[in-house]
């Protein structure tokens, strides 16, 4: 579970996040929607402890990212939008590196790596250096590394960008399965169709503020999510 309370972050005079508050519950797939520069990546980086924020609290499974960053990070996994991994490493070495940092036992990492690599159709490439991979392949490796330690909270920034249709389908299946197992999935996206079909709840962010949040039915009413989003954007 993620609890975000009154989070504010400024860059100079610009408020990148302005009093942002919402919760993401266990078993939920939650999408953060917004235009470029709305504050999605800033919020995700704040949740993951990549950068600091000025005010407010962020709790992941009850642990504060400010007060207990290591404990908090143990609960979650992060898949960045631009999967700049350690290019000189082989894919398998990168996965093992992440697993070592998360202290994952041998049997669990082996079982999960094989399972997700096969599912994402990349098991034959694990011994290749990451620098030889395409964007989509890197994204898959980042996802396998994130899932190998069985996080209870999965945070992804634009996870579907650069993936082929089969990989997008597989990723959605993985997310559904995790949510069914009671885990928390939180991601940002531009692809409203995917958000509409996949998510139980959404938040729309604009200019660093949450302008709409709730279950999919609450947010869209009898309209499409795209229409709601565009209406909110034109309100400015």
């Amino acid at each position: 579970m993620i609890k975000i309370k009154h989070v504010t972050k400024t860059y100079g005079h610009k408020k990148a996040l302005d009093n942002v508050s919402f919760d993401v519950n266990d078993g939920e797939i939650f999408a953060l929607i917004g235009h470029n520069g709305a504050g999605k990546t800033t919020l995700i980086k704040a949740i993951c402890g990549i950068h600091d924020f000025d005010h407010g609290t962020i709790l992941v499974n009850g642990k504060s990212i400010k007060e207990d960053p290591i404990g908090c990070k143990k609960e979650m996994a992060y898949v960045p939008d631009d999967p700049e991994l350690y290019e000189d490493m082989k894919a398998i070495d990168f996965i093992n590196f992440v697993c070592d940092i998360y202290d994952v036992p041998k049997t669990i990492r082996e079982q999960n790596t094989k399972r997700f690599a096969e599912m994402l159709d990349i098991s034959g490439e694990l011994s290749s250096p990451i620098k030889t991979f395409s964007h989509g392949m890197k994204q898959k490796i980042a996802l396998i590394a994130a899932l190998a330690h069985e996080p209870s909270v999965l945070i992804m920034d634009e996870p579907f960008v650069g993936l082929d249709p089969k990989a997008i389908f597989d990723m959605k299946e993985i997310m559904r399965k995790m949510a069914k197992d009671g885990k928390t999935i939180f991601f940002s996206t531009h692809i409203l169709d995917v958000a509409e079909k996949l998510c139980s709840r959404v938040a729309i962010v604009r200019g660093g503020k949450i302008v709409e949040t709730g279950s999919m039915d609450e947010v869209r009413g009898d309209k499409s999510l795209e229409k709601v989003f565009l209406e909110l954007e034109s309100d400015e």
Binding site: K73, Y78, D88, K90, D93, F97, D100, K106, E110
Partner: protein, 538 residues
């Protein structure tokens, strides 16, 4: 031309940014160490040039100094450029973007080489400018001297850069054909460096360092290296035609190089980025669990051995150390005889020199350790992957200390083996051996702790290639000058104490001082490093 200027602006701005802070208000603070370091270096070499000019009292023409510093600048640019040119020319991260645009390949090459040139100008400012100023102080000069000197200052990097770029091209073309490209690039760069070093040694520079040898060396240079001879000729007797020919030769060399590299550029970039996949038949993956420290150190070592420019940049001190140990152990008598005969007033006999070998070993360890700042770039080289590392459950302090540990793992085996070999060959006492081995540990510890603090302060994650981080960042510049200063102070202090309090006392005092400094730096990192680390975002 209308396309060239925006490309130049874009590529240059990216490079210059590495010296700046993001916030404009912090800019001057950020630039200050860079300016300070340049100032110190320039002053240092200005004095060196002034001292060299004193040789004129021994009958050396002042112009000999000028040609000497032209060749010193050229040698440094070539040796430096050999291993970074391939990376700078062919592997920048904006290659895909530029190649997708309607721009001539030669325009891209031109922009890359100009950027290379701009940074190599730094060496002209540090080495050649002081020599020119010292000459002007010692000799009456006229307008034509300044015209020639300023022109020379601008043109000196061209020939060395041309040589470096051609070598970079050869290295990239050959290595692109193989799967183990990095290893090959290192090997080829070392080969050219070795060939180049042999060529320099062929000038027989080991003769006595007096006035006549400087003059003889300069004469040899002037005969061999056209820019140096042309410069001297123009300073002595300015001739407008010779001046124009001098400019034309340099510009033609530059244009031909751009055209030549442009011809192979696209194919080389394509080959370098071609995917060479591993064989997948019956692969058995290893899932053995390791500690966080092991995983981090392994990651750092993988990065180190896969980054030719970093490897070459930091291995030079260690290679020189190994060569010096080998030379001392295998040809001690010859070296000592040469040293004593070359310095007329040398105060020590061969037997006394033998006694002071533990201090010499300490000095060699100091040189190798204090000049090898590996950690200065370790955070910056994380690039955008740094964000992912920060999202993982590992403390900033642990990340920092594992980087220091990895650097020490790279340095200590070389200096430890060298010291032990010297201790055995020259029968050091057990106490002196232990003290030299203590230096082997504490010195790189201090260097790498300072290095990581510098990178925490100056870290930038947006460099267009690893070569830019390793060769052209503020942190590297600061650490280079700091290393030079530390070597000078440490060795001078160690030998001063030897003559006051004795050799063992000197080693104890120096080791203890470094241990105290290391402990202090550790506490600084423990107290402030985590905070600095937390604030860094890629």
């Amino acid at each position: 031309m209308n396309k060239l200027i925006p490309i130049l602006k874009a590529t240059m701005a990216e490079g210059i940014q590495l010296f700046n802070y993001r916030a404009r208000t912090e800019r001057s603070r950020r630039l200050m160490p860079f300016l300070l370091a340049t100032l110190i270096g320039t002053c240092m070499l200005f004095s060196a040039s002034a001292m060299t000019l004193e040789f004129k009292e021994d009958g050396v023409a002042p112009t000999a100094t000028l040609s000497l510093y032209v060749i010193i600048t050229a040698i440094i640019i070539i040796m430096e450029g050999i291993y970074k040119s391939g990376d700078l020319l062919f592997s920048p991260r904006d290659n895909d973007l530029l190649l997708s645009m309607p721009i001539e390949k030669s325009t891209i090459v031109f922009a890359r080489i100009i950027k290379f040139y701009a940074f190599e100008m730094l060496y002209c400012l540090i080495f050649l400018l002081p020599a020119i100023l010292a000459y002007a102080i010692n000799v009456e000069t006229d307008f034509f001297f300044w015209l020639t000197s300023i022109t020379m200052l601008l043109l000196v990097p061209i020939v060395p850069i041309t040589i470096s770029c051609i070598i970079g091209l050869i290295s990239s073309i050959i290595s692109a054909k193989f799967k183990r490209r990095t290893f090959l690039q290192v090997l080829i760069s070392f080969f050219f460096l070795f060939v180049f070093a042999i060529m320099i040694l062929a000038f027989n520079t080991t003769s006595e360092f007096d006035g006549s040898s400087v003059a003889a060396f300069s004469d040899k240079i002037a005969n061999f290296y056209y820019p140096a001879s042309a410069f001297v000729d123009l300073v002595v007797n300015f001739n407008i035609w010779q001046y124009l020919i001098f400019i034309a030769v340099n510009l033609v060399v530059f244009a031909v190089t751009v055209a030549f590299i442009g011809r192979f550029y696209f194919q080389t970039v394509t080959n370098l980025s071609a995917v060479k996949q591993a064989e997948h038949a019956s692969i058995k993956y290893d899932f053995t669990k390791h500690s966080q420290t092991f995983a981090m150190v392994k990651k750092e070592l993988t990065k180190y051995f896969n980054t030719p420019v970093l490897l070459m940049n930091t291995a030079i001190g260690l290679v020189l150390f190994a060569v010096a140990v080998g030379a001392l152990c295998f040809n001690y008598d010859g070296l000592m005889a040469s040293l004593i005969s070359s310095l007329e007033d040398f105060p020590l006999t061969a037997e006394e020199l033998y006694f002071y070998l533990p201090s010499a070993a300490f000095a060699m360890v100091a040189f190798a350790s204090l000049m090898t700042f590996i950690t200065t770039t370790m955070i910056s080289l994380e690039g955008k992957a740094f964000n992912m590392l920060k999202s993982m459950p590992i403390s900033g302090k642990k990340v920092i200390m594992t980087k220091v540990l990895a650097a020490m793992i790279l340095i200590i085996p070389v200096t430890a083996i060298g010291s032990i070999v010297m201790a055995i060959r020259f029968n050091f006492s057990i106490l002196n051996t232990v003290l030299v081995l203590m230096a082997v540990v504490v010195m790189p510890l201090v260097t790498e702790l300072i290095g990581i603090l510098i990178d925490l302060k100056y870290a930038r994650f947006d460099a267009e290639s690893d070569a830019v981080v390793v060769k052209q960042s503020a942190g590297v510049l600061v650490s280079t000058f700091l290393g030079l200063g530390m070597v000078l102070v440490t060795i001078s202090l160690a030998f001063a104490i030897v003559f006051i309090a004795g050799q063992t006392a000197s080693l104890i005092i120096m080791d203890s001082t470094f241990a105290i400094v290391a402990a202090f730096l550790y506490f600084v990192i423990a107290a402030r490093g985590e905070k600095k680390y937390t604030k860094l975002v890629a």
